[in-house]
């Protein structure tokens, strides 16, 4: 199978562009608005073997009211959990706008047989997942079995029904920007609603240049088809400064239409508190101790 991406990526050039955009000066009102926008785009995530219903419930509470008592702080976009926690999260988030996202398809390796991946997807959707984060078979991709990767995505997409599908490329394992671009197109053509950088479990997770490559792929796909696809960098985004740099890259690559949580998400667990801390700092002029922010 040939993937029509129409272009390659120059490593030096893309990294230079990402570095240039990360120098934008975001201050005052822009910073406050940016931080709020970033909070509203978070997929608040807990993906640990030791996750328990109690932990997930606490996280959901945080998701609905990131800063209790301050109504100007928006809810996050979604809570992202393992399949066995979907019903817990669904219950905890009932009646709110916060979505439930579940990882699926043998996350994080993505190496279970296809029927199991499909079954898993169907089950999490049945349990109430609004969004499904699947991971592609990197081994097949790197072996050049693009058709196989594409078919898997398409079948999982079908199993998702009305739930949104986010396709994790695990860019840290694809290594080259050309591969990232190719995998982005492959996922979009196979029906991804979102493309996502990483599981958060690999050695290298989201980076700004990789995100830029994927946003440019989304732009080219939109140029070709008129179809909007969302983007989710995940893993390694811990500070407000980083989050604002990502927003700058979205703003200046895809423009206003993508600047909402319908089209852009952050996969993050610790980012929220840093955003809250910066927000409080902007309001009070002082940095607060981390003890004033809840660890959930």
């Amino acid at each position: 199978m040939q993937i029509s991406t129409s272009s390659t990526v120059d490593q030096v050039g893309i990294e230079e562009r990402a570095a240039a955009l990360s120098k934008r000066s975001i201050k005052k009102q822009t910073k406050i608005e940016g931080i709020k926008l970033a909070i509203s785009m978070i997929d608040l995530t807990t993906l640990e073997g030791k996750d328990s219903p109690g932990k997930v419930q606490a996280l959901c509470q945080k998701a609905i009211h990131p800063l209790e008592g301050n109504s100007s702080v928006p809810s996050v976009a979604a809570v992202c959990v393992y399949p066995n926690m979907v019903s817990v999260a669904k219950k905890a988030l009932k009646g709110t706008n916060v979505k439930v996202a579940s990882v699926a398809t043998g996350f994080p390796s993505g190496l279970t047989p296809l029927p199991i991946k499909i079954e898993e997807t169907k089950r999490v959707v049945e349990m109430g997942a609004d969004e499904v984060d699947m991971v592609i078979d990197r081994g097949a991709f790197l072996a050049g079995e693009y058709q196989k990767v594409s078919d898997e995505i398409a079948q999982v997409k079908e199993a998702c029904g009305k739930s949104h599908l986010k396709v994790i490329l695990e860019t840290g394992e694809l290594e080259t920007y050309d591969n990232v671009r190719k995998a982005s197109f492959l996922a979009m053509q196979a029906g991804a609603d979102f493309i996502k950088t990483s599981t958060g479990k690999a050695a290298v997770n989201a980076t700004l240049p990789v995100t830029l490559v994927m946003l440019e792929a989304i732009r080219d796909y939109w140029y070709q088809t008129g179809k909007m696809v969302g983007m989710k960098p995940a893993g390694g985004i811990r500070t407000s400064k980083q989050a604002l740099q990502y927003l700058v890259v979205v703003k200046e690559t895809l423009g206003d239409r993508w600047l909402s949580n319908d089209w852009f998400r952050f996969g993050a667990s610790t980012l929220t508190n840093d955003l809250l801390m910066q927000l409080t700092k902007e309001a009070t002029g002082r940095y607060q101790s981390l003890d004033y922010f809840t660890i959930d």
């Binding site: 129409s6 050039g13 893309i14 230079e16 934008r24 940016g34 927003l247 703003k251």
Partner: protein, 500 residues
């Protein structure tokens, strides 16, 4: 109307959908503070290590092109002043500079470099206020490169014996140097650093619209305790420059500026013993093949033509696009120019600053009008321009032919002419079909193609998959009407030495 005609008519009106770059999450102003910057109310000439009033008695105003506010007034040197400067340079050459060992000269040049580095922020702000270029460029490009240039040539000063195997070097004497307004401090560094390293003394004239950073550099030179007269800086207009060029006791003339003036200078020094280097205009071809990394090529095109408002002699002002990807490239460029932030040069988020002067703006407008009159299709950013100051929006033309004036003449503004080609041969032919030959760009993912094409291009600098990259160790200079002689690198020593 026949069916075929209908079809064509319909195809013409279908414009592809555009991305929206509107007001959502707009950046708040982030101006660089100017509070700690001290611009004097008046600047004198720097002759013989002292700041002295001009014999002419005249001063001219230097304005901020972004606001049209008067920043200060600057002394105008006449022939008598230039004569004093040349005399001071000659004395310094005979008495001190030519007698110092290279390692001692190096110490002084290193000192200039370090001082400049320490005051980088101040210099960046003054450069931006005086010339209109965005602070991010003066901060990240102009000043660091100027510093790097001094460091680089300081390193050469005690190694000249090894620069040209089997040959020794001897300085020339007094170098008369005239520089342009597009990179005021950087051009001063390009001129002064190699001249001093090789043992020459200098009389330098900055451009009349941007004299301030050179005069602040004079302060550093004074603080660095260079022997008096080693560097003299005389400000003024074309007449002052002519007085330097025509002065009988100048041994070497170096000029960067327009081809028109370059020709006058070459005539003036003909028949004299003066050595000459000229770095003049350009109309660089930026060639994009269909196998290029397109999005990075777009950035290269943007950087190539809109960097420093297009006031760049090596700007990639002629874009040669392979016909098969023309529509895609134009569509991407249309979206991309909307994201360029035009406005207050002191704002850290500004991408495109003010046009350097009203004269230059007039020239740009004239040539753009000629482009429209000749039937080329104009595309411009819809950005809002400030009311005061000199501004021009990012602009490009499609449907440009080789014979159009905007494809031949240097516009020296943020205006790009897009032409197409079908085969590599045609690309090379069109790229070389110009009176100039300063720079060129090649964009392709194929390494072999880069070498094949670049070896056929008649230009002094060729960038592959990038554009407008400078380094003090890399020689820069032109072919044909873009001038001769090289600045930077080992080659940049040549214009300032006699080989024996």
């Amino acid at each position: 109307m026949t069916t075929a005609e209908k079809k064509i008519a319909r195809l013409e009106v279908v414009e592809p959908k555009r991305l929206e770059f509107g007001k959502k999450w707009d950046y708040a102003p982030a101006p660089e503070s100017t509070e700690h910057i001290k611009i004097q109310s008046r600047y004198e000439l720097f002759i013989g290590g002292k700041f002295v009033s001009p014999k002419s008695g005249n001063y001219f105003k230097s304005i901020n092109p972004a606001t049209e506010e008067i920043l200060t007034e600057v002394a105008e040197a006449n022939e008598a002043d230039v004569n004093l400067a040349v005399k001071a340079a000659r004395t310094a050459y005979e008495k001190y500079w030519s007698k110092l060992p290279g390692s001692e000269r190096a110490k002084y040049i290193f000192r200039i470099a370090r001082q400049l580095q320490e005051k980088a922020r101040e210099f960046a702000i003054i450069e931006t206020m005086d010339g209109g270029k965005p602070i991010k460029e003066s901060r990240d490009v102009d000043i660091p490169l100027a510093v790097a240039h001094f460091f680089y040539y300081a390193g050469w000063a005690d190694k000249l014996d090894y620069a040209f195997p089997g040959r020794k070097t001897r300085p020339l004497g007094v170098a008369g140097q005239v520089i342009p307004w597009n990179f005021p401090l950087l051009m001063a560094a390009w001129k002064i650093a190699p001249a001093l390293a090789c043992g020459n003394t200098v009389v330098l004239k900055p451009a009349e619209t941007t004299p301030l950073t050179a005069l602040h550099l004079a302060q550093i030179i004074q603080e660095a305790d260079l022997p008096p007269g080693v560097v003299n800086i005389v400000t003024g207009f074309g007449k002052t420059g002519a007085a330097i060029v025509n002065h009988p006791d100048v041994d070497k003339v170096a000029f960067t500026g327009s081809t028109e003036v370059g020709k006058i200078i070459q005539r003036a020094v003909a028949g004299t013993k003066k050595k000459l280097t000229l770095e003049l205009g350009g109309k660089a071809a930026n060639i994009v093949f269909d196998d290029a990394p397109i999005d990075q090529a777009i950035e290269g095109i943007i950087n190539g033509i809109y960097f420093n408002q297009g006031h760049v002699c090596c700007a990639g002002s002629r874009l040669l696009v392979q016909e098969s990807i023309l529509d895609l490239v134009v569509r991407k460029l249309k979206d991309r120019i909307q994201t360029l932030r035009v406005g207050d040069p002191l704002d850290k988020n500004t991408d495109i600053g003010a046009i350097n002067s009203s004269d230059q703006l007039k020239k740009i407008k004239e040539l753009v009008q000629i482009g429209i009159d000749e039937g080329c299709k104009i595309h411009q950013s819809t950005c809002k321009l400030p009311e005061r100051g000199f501004w021009f929006p990012p602009t490009f033309f499609t449907g440009v032919a080789q014979s159009n004036r905007i494809a031949q003449e240097e516009i020296f503004g943020p205006v790009l002419s897009i032409l197409t080609f079908r085969t590599p041969e045609e690309a090379v032919e069109k790229a070389n079909n110009t009176a100039y030959g300063l720079s060129a760009g090649v964009w392709t993912d194929k390494g072999s193609k880069i070498f094949k094409i670049s070896s056929q291009l008649k230009a002094g600098v060729i960038w592959a998959n990038t554009f407008n990259k400078f380094d003090p160790s890399s020689p820069f200079g032109g072919y044909k009407e873009s001038g001769f002689g090289r600045e930077g690198g080992l080659q940049g020593l040549m214009p300032y030495v006699q080989l024996i």
